[in-house]
């Protein structure tokens, strides 16, 4: 009797076994999808669906009177390509990227090399002072620099005069109100806020380099500069590449500092592509069609950079 029961449990018919396995697979799949559901729904609704929606928006334009959507096909795109405002925003964006990215990378690598030096107990003090902008928001950075740049009460002009770069406060530029200097001023503020992040990445890269390379270089009689030039920098190339790509992506998307410091002005001296999208979509009469077309053009550049990054990581840039 016992024998019969146990065999009937441990040895179901092949059909039963298949049904059981099917049910188990089905349950496993359902269980997996249940765990994923919140994330997948969130991303589908707020990332993937808007990609399509944004494209649809970019093919339409709002009629001047009323809320009628008019299908214009690629009309918004051709309008952009022939608009001097659009090309100005592209130019400003490229200048902004050129101003922020190389400076940020060079500064962060220099600082990382210094921070990788054996610093003893002072290491944490140095790091804290240099890393700290990493937690500052773009809004706070904007407000702080708006004050620092202030032509009357700001510290920056006062310090520049104290250092003898200008004769008096009146000679120093009114940074944010000057067509000539506004973009530069915004670049400085943004580079400052990005610096903490960049140094952290660069330092991790420098510390990843095996010390045996330095020992070998020392045995060969390389001095400090030669060790940096021929050991650190080549072995740091994957980090440099990563920093380059991620900084270009961030710079293309910078918004907070620009909105607070200059609001795209004076004139359109600091109107980057992102600022222009924001302005067209949300300031005054919303023109979400043309704004979405601009967003698509910007996204193409950003996604292209992301692809370059993935491709580069797969191919590996370094020789180690």
């Amino acid at each position: 009797m016992n024998q019969a029961v146990s065999t009937s449990i441990s040895q179901p018919t092949p059909a039963q076994r298949a049904a059981l396995a099917r049910r188990r697979t089905l349950w496993r799949a359902i269980e997996g999808y249940l765990y994923l559901a919140p994330t997948l729904i969130g991303l589908a609704v707020f990332v993937f669906w808007p990609i399509v929606e944004s494209f649809k928006l970019s093919l339409n334009r709002i009629a001047p009177f009323g809320n009628q959507q008019i299908f214009v096909g690629l009309g918004n795109y051709t309008r952009l390509l022939t608009s001097s405002d659009y090309w100005n925003s592209v130019r400003v964006t490229l200048l902004f990227v050129l101003g922020t990215v190389p400076t940020g990378i060079i500064l962060s690598v220099l600082l990382a090399i210094l921070l990788a030096y054996p610093l003893g107990k002072m290491a944490s003090v140095h790091r804290t002072l240099i890393f700290v902008p990493v937690v500052i928001s773009s809004a706070v950075a904007g407000v702080l620099f708006r004050w620092l740049y202030h032509p009357v009460v700001g510290y920056i002009n006062y310090w520049l005069v104290s250092l003898g770069l200008f004769d008096s406060m009146g000679d120093a530029p009114n940074w944010l109100a000057s067509t000539q200097w506004a973009l530069f001023a915004v670049i400085v503020a943004t580079t400052w806020r990005q610096l903490g992040f960049n140094v952290i990445i660069a330092l991790a890269g420098v510390q990843n380099i095996d010390s045996s390379f330095y020992d070998a270089a020392k045995v060969d009689g390389a001095n400090a500069w030669q060790r940096i030039r021929h050991v650190t920098l080549p072995l740091l190339s994957p980090t440099l590449f990563f920093l380059f790509i991620i900084n270009v992506i961030y710079s293309f998307q910078a918004f907070g500092e620009i909105h607070i410091l200059t609001a795209g002005g004076p004139g359109q001296a600091t109107t980057t592509m992102v600022y222009s999208i924001f302005y067209d979509a949300f300031v005054g009469t919303p023109q979400r069609g043309i704004a979405s077309a601009q967003a698509y053009m910007l996204a193409l550049m950003v996604v292209f950079m992301s692809f370059v990054q993935f491709a580069g990581i797969n191919r590996r840039v370094h020789y180690q």
Binding site: A29, G32, P50, L114, W147, H150
Partner: protein, 286 residues
């Protein structure tokens, strides 16, 4: 006398090169953190000193009057509450949902798992500028603009969190799961009673990231809030500055800035190691 017999621990002598590096780093470090220091010092100056020329660094007389003025001029208390609720909800959602998804992607086996994982990763490439206009229209259509739901819903899922926690879960030995299964605990119990407590460090690090990012958000709260009462600190400080700009009343503005960056600064000082490690490992700010 007895002390003489105990040899002091020998410290390696500082060479002139060491001193030069320390000097350089300290100078650069002070220049970099200077905007924060001067803002902090200015927030404690009496109003007349804020606008005296030439400016002086240290408050002649320490006062909290700027904080009181800022607090009274705009509903800073309300901004603070909004920021805490907004960042708290986003962090909570991202942490819980990322734990669930990371578990599915690291431990569970089911058809389509890899394809879905790459889809989630792919979302990291989508720039926010591409989605924020439709999101704004969608949230408005739902009637959620100017509400906490509107501030938080678009960020309730985090591909970054899924990626980060999955990496960690993959490092936990499979034997642990097998043992738990033999003991009769299902996936749900294994996740919450064994895996999550084991991963406290990583989850904590991700939570700090999520919180800082939410706290520092600017573009989305700027467009989705309409009333003064719903503004977050970052938006509030900007409007407060604009209203003060002509009068050059920078003392209260700096006090407001200190309130807006305070929690982030505290988190940085307390959890600097984890934060730096997280950034260095993932190469992302969150």
């Amino acid at each position: 006398m007895a002390a003489k017999t105990v040899l002091p621990k020998r410290k390696p002598a500082l060479t002139s090169g060491d001193l030069l590096v320390h000097f350089l780093l300290l100078t650069i470090g002070l220049v970099i953190s200077m905007p924060i220091f001067v803002a902090m010092l200015t927030s404690f100056k009496i109003p007349t000193q804020v606008i005296t020329f030439p400016p002086t660094l240290v408050p002649r007389e320490w006062t909290t009057v700027n904080y009181i003025m800022a607090w009274q001029a705009t509903p800073f208390g309300r901004y603070l509450l909004n920021s805490v609720v907004q960042s708290g909800l986003i962090t909570l959602g991202q942490v819980i949902f990322s734990i669930l998804a990371a578990y599915a992607f690291s431990v569970l086996q089911f058809p389509g798992r890899n394809a879905l994982f790459y889809t989630v990763l792919g979302s990291l490439m989508v720039p926010f500028e591409l989605v924020f206009i439709p999101n704004f229209q969608f949230i408005s259509a739902l009637g959620f603009s100017d509400t906490y739901a509107g501030l938080t819903l678009p960020f309730i899922a985090s591909a970054f969190g899924v990626f980060m926690l999955r990496q960690f879960f993959l490092g936990v030995p499979v034997e642990l799961h097998d043992a738990a299964r033999i003991d009769g605990s299902g996936n749900w119990r294994y996740l919450w009673q064994i895996l999550v407590p084991l991963s406290k460090g990583s989850i904590g690090a991700f939570a700090i990231f999520a919180f800082l990012n939410a706290w520092n958000q600017y573009l989305w709260p700027l467009i989705i809030t309409k009333s003064v009462e719903m503004r977050t600190l970052q938006i509030g400080i900007r409007f407060f500055m604009t209203s003060q700009d002509r009068g050059a009343d920078w003392g209260p503005v700096m006090a407001g800035s200190m309130i807006a960056m305070g929690p982030a600064l505290v988190a940085f000082l307390l959890a600097q190691k984890q934060l730096v490690k997280g950034i260095a490992l993932t190469g992302l700010k969150g």
